[in-house]
Amino acid sequence: MTAVRTAPVTATPPADQPPVPPDRRRVPYLLLLPGLLWLAVFFVVPLFTLVSTSLQTGSLEEGYALTFSWSTYGGVWTTYGRQLLRSFCYAGSATVLALLIGYPLAYAIAFKAQRWRNVMLVLVVAPFFTSFLLRTLAWKIVLADDGWVVGTLQAVGLVSDTGRLLATPAAVVLGLTYNFLPFMVLPLYASLEKMDPLLLEAASDLHATPMTAFRTVTWPLSLPGVVAGTLLTFIPAAGDYVNVQFLGTPTSQMIGNVIESRFLTVLDYPAAAALSITVMAAVLVLVLAYVRRVGARELL
């Protein structure tokens, strides 16, 4: 009997309410269309070919054929598991560092900067005005063996006299932190900026120390920003290969470097595809675990 109920609504709308033109009802779908098309063409289709490539066997000269060979996955895990774990370790360290640097910065911009706020936001984004590659290469000059940074650290004994910063894992983590810091700061700023400062006044009226107020009011309210910022930092950092290429050594190669060389140098497309899928799956699992633990309870 539902037809009876709905039919009059569409057929004879109340006189005082103009009928919804059919064109208007299509609007939401039309709005979704470009995004969906984009996703379909540039994400779903490539993902499908990626999966299919990863299950192929063969060689460049004989051609690759789909044989549903899952052994490639086991092979890449045993061979490149170390690089994969290392990538997550570097990306994790960079994310923690970026949070430690980014949170006070976002806090300062949101609450203390006042009329400098826009200037500071522009400064946060400013590095993006130059190429990612140039920014990374600039670190080679900053961290040069004969440069003042290494010289100063050697003088205070933090780096041994023959030690270096360039071509060490520390330089890689530093480069990752630097390159992805804006992705941490901006979501943090967005969530802190929305916060009503009166809540902090209320907390202090209730005899909360500034520390307690931060712990019970500011931090929980900024959690959506923390989750967004850490994800936006961690995920691209885990797949990065440029920082290692310029700032790392042979023993600090990340999974991105392996995928690049599989694809371009060895032309071993199945292994490269299997590695890409493995990385995607691993990131997905990590992210889900993280969001369930930190995000879901506090955000929902």
């Binding site: 490539p46 070919t49 990626l50 299919s52 490539t53 192929q56 063969g58 060689s59 460049l60 000269e61 004989e62 051609g63 690759y64 054929a65 789909l66 690089q83 590659l133 140039l134 290469l137 600039a138 080679k140 000059i141 040069a144 063996d145 004969d146 023959t162 270096r164 360039l166 071509a167 440029v242 290429q245 310029f246 790392g248 050594t249 042979p250 023993t251 600090s252 190669q253 470097n257 392996v258 690049e260 060389s261 694809f263 371009l264 140098t265 060895v266 032309l267 071993d268 497309y269 595809a273």
Partner: protein, 398 residues
């Protein structure tokens, strides 16, 4: 020397960035995109099949793909190439010159789908390194050159005539060559380097880089264990890999690089590098003490080769172009700019007019004695290639 401050993979002397390294890294993104067509079909067809027929192009037009900074430019205008203008004036053929070869693998990824499908690549002349030229020839992707249409090819130096991948040079002619050896400044290091094993001393720990180009790095290591890169067994190669692994584990090798090493060498982040002659020659302009040593056990010689891909619209025009650049005077003008080894006989005499200060430079005009100590890497089939690369990449960490 202002004309010679650019070259294939030039280094900027502010110590910041090698253009080829930059383009190469940028190119990776593009290459992944260009690899798309290869992956688009689930199950690609083998590349063993050929069948491109020469198209009917306009005989007055020619498309040439080359590496960046690998052809002379006029002062103040990087897009004007004096020798190319002279060619157009002489033959009436309009040349579209594109610097779109940033990386052998990437470029192969770009043109191979067309060649495999038997379609034209839209290019009449391409320039690729020996081992990639070998692959192109093996796959049948290259037109046979009619040497009768290239009379100047008689100027090809004898040592280049019979390369393992193209006996008698039926498909390819070298554009420029380069030596892979050891680049260093004896004054900064405080001692002389005569052979590869001199690199593995405490003062170079972490201050040494090697090339990601497997054939150059492994070629020198193979020579250092007393075998030859042209003729060695898998056991020899494994021995050389073990040696490389040992020095990497001991922390000697700071990184494996494209030609970014040149900037590090200039800024003294590193004190020695396995590097290429053209790069080191560029560094000499700023630091006259910088030198390239061909190790006592021997060095590597590679070439980039001019080839006409299958399906080229204007093969006759391409042969005219190659003929033009085999004129000693023109070859000297190019060499004065790119600073690599020229394979053209008579270019050294012509250089006395073009740029007298370079006429006696051993890195552009190696003597017969030096040439005799230079080696090329043996031709690898696809399976060997993969095995060799796998072992090498494992050591360099990728």
């Amino acid at each position: 020397m202002t004309r010679s401050t650019h070259q294939r993979g030039a280094i900027r002397f502010d110590g910041s960035l090698s253009r080829r390294g930059f383009l190469r890294a940028l190119g990776v993104g593009g290459a992944v995109l260009t690899a798309g067509p290869l992956l688009a079909a689930c199950g690609t067809e083998g590349t063993g099949r050929t069948g491109a027929a020469a198209g009917n192009g306009d005989p007055r037009k020619l498309a040439w793909s080359n590496w960046p900074l690998y052809l002379d430019t006029s002062d103040g205008d990087d897009t004007a190439h004096p020798t190319l203008t002279a060619f157009t004036k002489k033959t009436g053929i309009e040349v579209t010159y594109t610097e779109d070869v940033n990386d052998n693998d990437e470029f192969f990824g770009k043109i191979s789908p067309m060649l495999r499908a038997g379609r034209s690549t839209g290019r009449d002349v391409v320039v690729l390194t020996d081992w990639m030229a070998a692959r192109m020839i093996r796959l049948g992707y290259v037109e046979t050159l009619d040497r009768a249409n290239i009379p100047n090819s008689k100027n090809l130096l004898a040592s280049y005539e019979n390369v393992p991948f193209d006996q008698g040079r039926q498909y390819s002619l070298p554009w420029q060559s380069g030596i892979a050896g050891i680049g260093y400044n004896p004054k900064s290091l405080g001692r002389e380097i005569a052979e590869v094993d001199d690199l593995f001393k405490p003062d170079l720990k972490g201050r040494l880089t090697m090339l990601t180009e497997m054939r150059d790095t492994m070629g020198l290591l193979l020579l250092s264990i007393g075998t030859s890169p042209e003729d060695h067994t898998m056991a020899d190669y494994k021995k050389a890999i073990a040696k490389l692994q040992k020095v990497v584990d001991q922390g000697y090798v700071r990184s494996f690089t494209g030609n970014e090493y040149a900037a590090d060498l200039a800024s003294r982040n590193i004190l020695a590098a396995i590097g290429w002659s053209g790069d080191v020659l560029q560094l000499q302009a700023d630091d006259p003490d910088m030198q390239l040593v061909v190790p006592g056990d021997g060095g590597m010689l590679w070439s980039d080769n001019l080839m006409v891909p299958k399906g080229a619209g204007n093969k006759a025009g391409a042969e005219k172009l190659i003929d033009f650049y085999y004129d000693p005077r023109i070859a000297a003008e190019v060499a004065a700019y790119v600073n690599y080894v020229t394979p053209v006989r008579g270019a050294q005499e012509a250089m006395k007019d073009v740029a007298p200060e370079l006429a006696d430079n051993e890195l552009i005009f190696p003597t017969e004695d030096t040439l005799a100590t230079l080696h090329s890497f043996k031709v690898l089939d696809e399976g060997e290639e993969k095995e060799y690369q796998d072992m090498f990449l494992k050591v360099i960490g990728a």
